[in-house]
Structure formats: structure tokens, C-alpha cells
């Protein structure tokens, strides 16, 4: 398969470098909204959820979004969308009566009947919260014109979890922190981020693990401040973490360049030669190679391939790429083959 193909298969922000792209993969804004006079999805019957879904579907512009009912697509397709961050692990666990609208550029999506009736999200490459915010806001404005949203003068936008009430906003940055992880500084970093009122989550959000040294930093609170203030807070914390990561990368390279060169090249070597490889190992090795590229130890010609591989090698993407369902052992074999072939093209 031509290399162009894997770049086409992944979400656009994965392979595009944005501001502070050496540390920040993407910025994401999520707005939680609900319809007035309807029970929240978890407390609603399947029938009510379907009714709400139909109502929302009608309110979404079909020229800008493709709408999907989740029970109409295969579980592989749903997992694939989760790996692309278009769906959450929560919504794919129980797809009945739920849906998703995906923008044509695949940078925005609206989950329907996840924990709230509407979860509007927009993603931008790198640290670029304002761009993502603008898009999410525009979608929200459009929806508000057509649907009666649950809004209270005192509490703001009403949500199923009181932890999201008010602005309904979650601002997050996906960061790559191999330097802090390598030097055992993650516990300290997590602590300081928590003290600044933010939380660190795994790559697929709440309650998921960190893979390939990828973490999501996001706000905890949603009430009592404006959206702009929440954005500013996150930008401050993200900038702090970016600074720490860069500082540690520089220290390691200054004090022990040979060690780091050896590590990133060994990882690249393994990726180029392995015959069986699991998702977690591949992500860890790709993380090393990415670090090597960002520090100029490995040629940046392979950066788009490495970025795309970070997504393509995940189980559902791999199966979609190869066009069939594979049992885990076969996956390890084909994963190694895909990585080898793609890296050999450079």
C-alpha cells in the first residue's frame, strides 16, 4: 500500500504540527449541553433516547456533518472512532439509542446521548485552544438556534454530572512527556498540575491509562468562571508543563547525549526489525523515536510516518487498515509488518 494511504486513514491533527508541536499533539474543547424537559441519557429509556437522537439529528446541518446512529455501524468502526478520539470509551460501551455527528474535516464531532444529550467537541493540532474554542462555540450557537437547551440563570448549562455544570466546558491538551517519564518526574508533575487545579488523564480521557507517554491535561471545574478564564488557566498550566518537559529533555541531552542517542536509535531499530509487536510496546518505542526526532537525533523526514503509526497501530485502526478482523496474536504479527514496511519507505 502506498504511504499516502496511512496518512489518509488517521485523524488530521495527528499528523499536523501545531504550535508547541514538540510537546503538544492537540488541543480539545468539549461543551456539554442538554435539552430542556428531557431526562439525562443514563436515566432515560431507550425509547426516549431514540426520540432525543432524532430531534438532535434534525438540528444538525447535514452539509457540515455526517450523522451516524451507533447501533448502525460495526463495533470495529466504533472502536476505530474511539481511537480517533471522535467517540469516548463510555459511549461505545452501550451504543443503543446513541449517535455521533462528525464534521467533514473530522476535527469536530457531536456525541449524542453520551453522558449528556450533546457533547460538542473540537480539536486543533498543537497548543491552539482558541481555534478549537471558536469552532465548538460556533457549533453550539447553531444548535441553540434550533433546540431548547437546559440553562439555568444561576447554575448555567445543566448537566448530568454536577462536575460539568455551568459552562459545561472541558479544556484539554494532549501532551507527549517522554522526558519527564524517563527521568521519573511524572509523579511530581502530576502533583503540581493537580495543585494548579487541573487533572491529568489517560489518552482516551477519564479513567484510561497513559500509553506511549501521552497524557491529557484538563480542567477540573466548570462553574464560577468564564470560558475564557478556563482556557487561560489551562494554557498557563500547559505552558508550565511544556517548559518542564523541554528543560528535562535538554538536561538529558546535555549530560548524557550518548545514552539518549542509543535509546532512540535502539527503539527505531526494534521497530524496523521486529516480527511480533503489541500495541503498548509499539507505542512506547514510537514515543522514543518521536522524542529523537523532536531533539534532532533522528531525521525529521519520518515524522509524519511516526505520527501516523502512533494511531494506525492501535487495534481497530490496524484491522481497518488491513481490511479484516484479526485475533490478537495475528495482530502483533501484522502490526510489526506494517511498521516495518512504512519505516522502510524512508
Amino acid at each position: 500500500m502506498a504511504k499516502k494511504d496511512i496518512l489518509d486513514l488517521v485523524t488530521p491533527w495527528m499528523i499536523k504540527d501545531g504550535p508547541d508541536g514538540d510537546v503538544v499533539l492537540s488541543s480539545r474543547i468539549r461543551l456539554a449541553r442538554n435539552l430542556k424537559d428531557q431526562p439525562f441519557p443514563w436515566h432515560a429509556s431507550l425509547e426516549t433516547r431514540e426520540k432525543v437522537r432524532t430531534k438532535i439529528k434534525k438540528a444538525i446541518n447535514p452539509e457540515e456533518f455526517d450523522f451516524l446512529s451507533l447501533e448502525d455501524i460495526s463495533s470495529l468502526e466504533r472502536e476505530n472512532m474511539m481511537e480517533s478520539h471522535l467517540l469516548s470509551p463510555q459511549i461505545i460501551a452501550d451504543p443503543a439509542g446513541r449517535g455521533v455527528a462528525i464534521s467533514k474535516d473530522r476535527l469536530s464531532s457531536i456525541m449524542v446521548n453520551e453522558e449528556d444529550h450533546l457533547r460538542i467537541q473540537s480539536i486543533a493540532p498543537g497548543l491552539d485552544l482558541d481555534v478549537a474554542m471558536k469552532k465548538a462555540n460556533a457549533i453550539d450557537d447553531q444548535i441553540e438556534k434550533v433546540l431548547d437547551l437546559a440553562f439555568d440563570e444561576k447554575y448555567g448549562y445543566l448537566t448530568a454530572w454536577p462536575t460539568n455544570v455551568g459552562t459545561g466546558i472541558r479544556v484539554s491538551a494532549m501532551v507527549h512527556l517522554p522526558g519527564l517519564a524517563l527521568t521519573n518526574n511524572m509523579p511530581r508533575t502530576l502533583n503540581s498540575v493537580n495543585q494548579l487545579g487541573m487533572v491529568v488523564r489517560g489518552i482516551y480521557g477519564e479513567g484510561t491509562e497513559a500509553l506511549g507517554n501521552l497524557y491529557q491535561i484538563s480542567n477540573q471545574r466548570s462553574l464560577g468562571r468564564s470560558e475564557e478564564e478556563f482556557l487561560k488557566d489551562l494554557a498557563t498550566v500547559a505552558t508550565h508543563v511544556i517548559g518542564e518537559e523541554r528543560k528535562i529533555r535538554n538536561i538529558v541531552i546535555e549530560k548524557n547525549r550518548a545514552f539518549l542517542e542509543d535509546k532512540v536509535h535502539r527503539s527505531l531499530g526494534t521497530l524496523k526489525e521486529a516480527r511480533l509487536i503489541g500495541t503498548n510496546e509499539a507505542l512506547a518505542l514510537l514515543s522514543d523515536v518521536r522524542l529523537g526526532i523532536d531533539l534532532g537525533l533522528i531525521s525529521d523526514a519520518i515524522k509524519p510516518t511516526v505520527q501516523a503509526l502512533m494511531q494506525i497501530i492501535r487495534p481497530a485502526h490496524l484491522q481497518k487498515y488491513l481490511g479484516n478482523n484479526l485475533d490478537p496474536e495475528m495482530r502483533d504479527y501484522y502490526r510489526a509488518t506494517v511498521i516495518r514496511e512504512e519505516l522502510a519507505k524512508e
Partner: protein, 169 residues
């Protein structure tokens, strides 16, 4: 292999630290890894939701309150306490008294200061505008800039009429 730290439990967490070229290997049991903070970086769960659940679980409520229901969706307060989720938008009003202290704890505030939707926002934008002008008016009076203050006062009056009119309409 036994845990390096307590020498009692089997080591299940294996850590390799490489700093400045010095390699250090540690083999710990789950408990010791947790105590030394090493497990934190491996286990990035959501500390907030657990804090929220702990908070809800630790609060004591009267049995009559636990049985009380939202008049719109029938969610009992006990269901909310167990799941952490409300049943419908009306629950916020129905359980207002109980929610206030919870929101104060988890959100640090009980008042929305963000976006106001155009259609569902009612007079809230006007009210915020009036509040802002009142602060301005106070300032102007303090500085004895009466001419400007008179202008702001007229503006407030105009907005108040508009707000009142909207309410009636």
C-alpha cells in the same frame, strides 16, 4: 521475587530508573509502589471523580431526604448519592438545597459566570450588564464625576426598563 522495600509481598511493579546514565532497578509490591508514589504515574485514573464519590458517600442525609423524589423525573436523592448523576435538568431546582453545599465543595462556586445562550438565557445578559454599570456608577460617584455618573444612571434605568419589559413579555 519479593518486594525490595517490605520483603514480604511478591513484587509486581518493576521500575527502571535511568538518570544521568545511572541505571537503578526497583521491584516493589503493589502496596509499597502506592506508598512511594510510584504507582501514580502508571495508573492515571480520574482523581476527581473518586474525590466526588467520596464526598457524596461521606455526607450524611436524613432517610426522608434520601427517599424524596424529583417531581419531574422521579429520581430519588439516594439514587443521585449512589450514582453521582442527576436525572434531569429539573433535579437542580428540586434538590437545590442539598446541591448548594456539594457544588461549593466540588466547584468552589455556585454561580455561573460564563456563556449565556441567546434564546434560553432570558434577561441574564441584561442583568449582567446592569450589574457592571452599577459598579461603574459607584466608582464615578466616589470620584465625584457626577456628570458621567448621571449618564450611567440613565443607561441603567433604560436597561432596567428593557429587562422589566422583557419579563412581562
Amino acid at each position: 521475587m519479593l518486594c525490595d522495600r517490605c520483603n514480604l509481598n511478591p513484587a509486581t511493579v518493576h521500575l527502571k530508573t535511568i538518570l544521568n546514565g545511572i541505571v537503578e532497578e526497583k521491584h516493589l509490591c503493589q502496596k509499597c509502589a502506592k506508598e512511594t508514589g510510584q504507582l501514580q504515574m502508571l495508573n492515571v485514573t480520574n482523581p476527581f471523580s473518586s474525590f466526588f464519590e467520596t464526598l457524596l458517600g461521606s455526607m450524611e442525609y436524613q432517610p426522608t431526604l434520601l427517599r424524596s423524589k424529583c417531581g419531574v423525573c422521579n429520581l430519588t436523592f439516594d439514587q443521585f448519592r449512589r450514582t453521582g448523576q442527576l436525572g434531569c435538568p429539573s433535579c437542580y431546582r428540586e434538590f437545590n438545597n442539598e446541591l448548594q453545599p456539594i457544588l461549593r465543595r466540588i466547584q468552589g462556586d455556585v454561580t455561573h459566570r460564563g456563556k449565556i445562550p441567546v434564546r434560553q438565557g432570558g434577561n441574564l445578559s441584561l442583568k449582567r450588564q446592569i450589574e457592571k454599570l452599577r459598579d461603574e456608577l459607584k466608582d464615578l460617584v466616589k470620584r465625584e464625576e457626577y456628570e458621567k455618573a448621571a449618564k450611567v444612571r440613565d443607561e441603567i434605568k433604560e436597561l432596567e426598563e428593557k429587562a422589566g419589559g422583557n419579563q412581562n413579555g
